[in-house]
Amino acid sequence: MLNPKLKLNPKIFNEDVEQVPIRKGFGIGLLKAGEENKNVVALCADLVDSTQMNLFVEKFPERFIEMGVAEQNLVTVASGMAAMGKIPFCSSYAMFSPGRNWEQIRTTISYNDRKVVIVGSHAGISVGPDGGTHQALEDIALMRIIPNMDVISPCDAIEAKKATLALAKTGKPAYLRLAREKTPIITTEETSFEMGKAQIYWMPDIGLTQVGIIVTGSLTYRAILAAKELEARGIKTKVMNLSSIVPIDVEAIVALAKECKAIVTVEEHQVNGGMGSAVAEVLAQNYPVPMEFIGVQNLFGQSGSPDELIEHYEMGVPSILAAVKKVLKRKIS
């Protein structure tokens, strides 16, 4: 069942569940952050509408900086603005920022300790028809390896809004990962969001949990659907939303592993180096258990509809079900 304490969207399992792109939540959050703090500025590399900065641009044109197609400049100018007390949010596609400005982010933002938020939109395979050059499948890894850099990957537009507002206040460099496609709304305004805190979104109605599913970002909905289906088939799981990849909630992850002794991770990302990899690092050091990794298996993406691609690259509900069954078997043997 949905964790009753978290006040998740009661209509989540309806056919007509509301669907909103995760990036849209960022746009709304940024506008709000701009209203709350006049030091918030927005920088964009020629993708204002795509990255949903348009709301901010309309309201605060004097705090918007158009960078053109220049991602290295995007983050280094932001570093300079942060040095003068601004709180810059820089947006582009995740493939190009952090893909094309990684060292500049490391040096001029993290090493330099300048409060800048890097916003990578169009992350994941669900970018769809644009194809493999535009589907960022490595950005979580790129960013979680930089010291002094938080990494947040919200599960829906509402969480994205909350994360944006939270990141405007932390005083620490951060990366915010966004997806392009419409995604069902999972949370509500009342659901809590806290940096460094993982939350259980789904749990068995009754009885012991057999497998822990840890998910981040846009696949959270599918993970919950899979859990519901498993429940119907008598397999009891918990679904943990790990939207805060850095800081990572070691305590909660280890507790889940201790409880289930089998973990499946789910992310729209390469399995190498991503969120699953971060979980594997935590468990190896604390409480090793069998794991299965749902994600892209060291391949490039391609054109197609988001759904086609998620199925093709084995990140859909059937693949999650299969992974849960596989890890269950490994646990027993």
Binding site: C44, D46, L47, V48, D49, S50, E66, M67, G68, V69, A70, Q72, N73, M95, F96, G99, R100, G128, P129, D130, G131, G132, T133, H134, Q302, S303, G304, S305, E308, L309, H312
Partner: protein, 308 residues
């Protein structure tokens, strides 16, 4: 320069019109993709595929072919349509654009479509790749030549860069927006250093990018001065005038000590009146209705050309 015959020009105009119609049809079918750039570049692609390029659609991997590097991969509808119309693959296949399993990926991918020289999409990396190809040709072509350098290192390096003996050119098509990218300027500086006169870059100077007009988003002017200051030979032409374009390429082929850029002034959305000059058509496909309007306009134009 030798002017193209009237018949030739008429032939090109018809081809370009066909290609524009294909672009509209594929985009309507795909329901996503880029419109303005491809329409604006249709005349240039036509001239290249049907006149300038040394290529063989029946033997695409012919070793001695010219190389065409498309840097701004997002305009691939015009690239694919030109390939189909010149015989690389059936025109029917254009309808698969951006669909799952298609060879016509949203941005060109040579693993799927081996006829493209380079997979692209991310902007600003094409000039460098083309420069690398041009340099490789110089190295291969120069093995037999003697040189004038002073030290043995200088001599060897001079030799490497002596005018290519390979009888082909590396053409690179780029957009104006991608001149915002530092990678472009690194490549431009490098090609200038190496005097790559076998490299000819064509800039789609259509004055738009995603967020608006280039001179507002990130001004490029004085663009000619920029290239000159990076040691390139600069030619400016009207990108819709086949004669001017052809002359530009002929002039470029005669330059012996510099890489050449042809700044081709184009109209984004060219040929469809309600799209022309409007940056909003950068990455928006026509819907069914808009597609029909566009096709009607193009067909009317085709009729006019044929009966002129």
């Amino acid at each position: 320069m030798t002017a193209l015959s009237k018949e030739k020009i008429k032939e090109f105009e018809i081809k370009a019109n066909d290609i524009r119609q294909s672009i509209i049809e594929m985009l309507v079918e795909a329901k996503s993709g880029h419109t303005a750039g491809p329409l604006g570049m249709a005349d240039i692609f036509t001239l290249f595929y049907f006149h300038i390029l040394k290529h063989n659609p029946k033997n695409p991997s012919w070793a001695d072919r010219d190389r065409l590097i498309l840097s701004n991969g997002h305009i691939c509808p015009v690239f694919y349509a030109s390939m189909a119309h010149s015989g690389y693959f059936p025109i029917e296949e254009l309808k698969t654009l951006r669909k799952f399993g298609s060879r016509l990926q949203g941005h060109p991918h040579r693993e799927y479509l081996p006829f493209v020289e380079n997979s692209s999409g991310p902007l600003g990396s094409g000039i460098s790749q083309a420069a690398g190809m041009a340099l490789a040709d110089k190295i291969d072509g120069s093995t037999m030549l003697t040189t004038s350098g002073s030290t043995s290192f200088d001599k060897a390096q001079d030799k490497m860069l002596t005018t290519s003996t390979k009888d082909r050119y590396i053409y690179c098509f780029i957009s104006d927006g991608e001149l915002d990218e530092g990678n472009s300027w690194e490549g431009i500086m490098f090609a200038g250093k190496n005097k790559l006169n076998n490299l000819i870059v064509i800039v789609d100077r259509n004055n738009i990018q995603i967020d608006g007009n280039t001179e507002k988003v990130m001004p490029l002017e004085p663009l000619k001065d920029k290239w000159s200051a990076f040691n390139w030979h600069v030619i400016e032409v009207n990108g819709h005038d086949f004669n001017a374009l052809n002359d530009g390429v002929l002039e470029a082929q005669k330059i012996i000590d510099k890489p050449i850029v042809i700044i081709a002034h184009t109209i984004p959305g060219k040929g469809v009146s309600f799209m022309e000059h409007d940056y909003k058509w950068h990455g928006m496909p026509p819907n069914k209705e808009q597609g029909e309007m566009a096709l009607k306009e193009l067909k009317d134009m085709a009729f006019k050309i044929k009966n002129a």
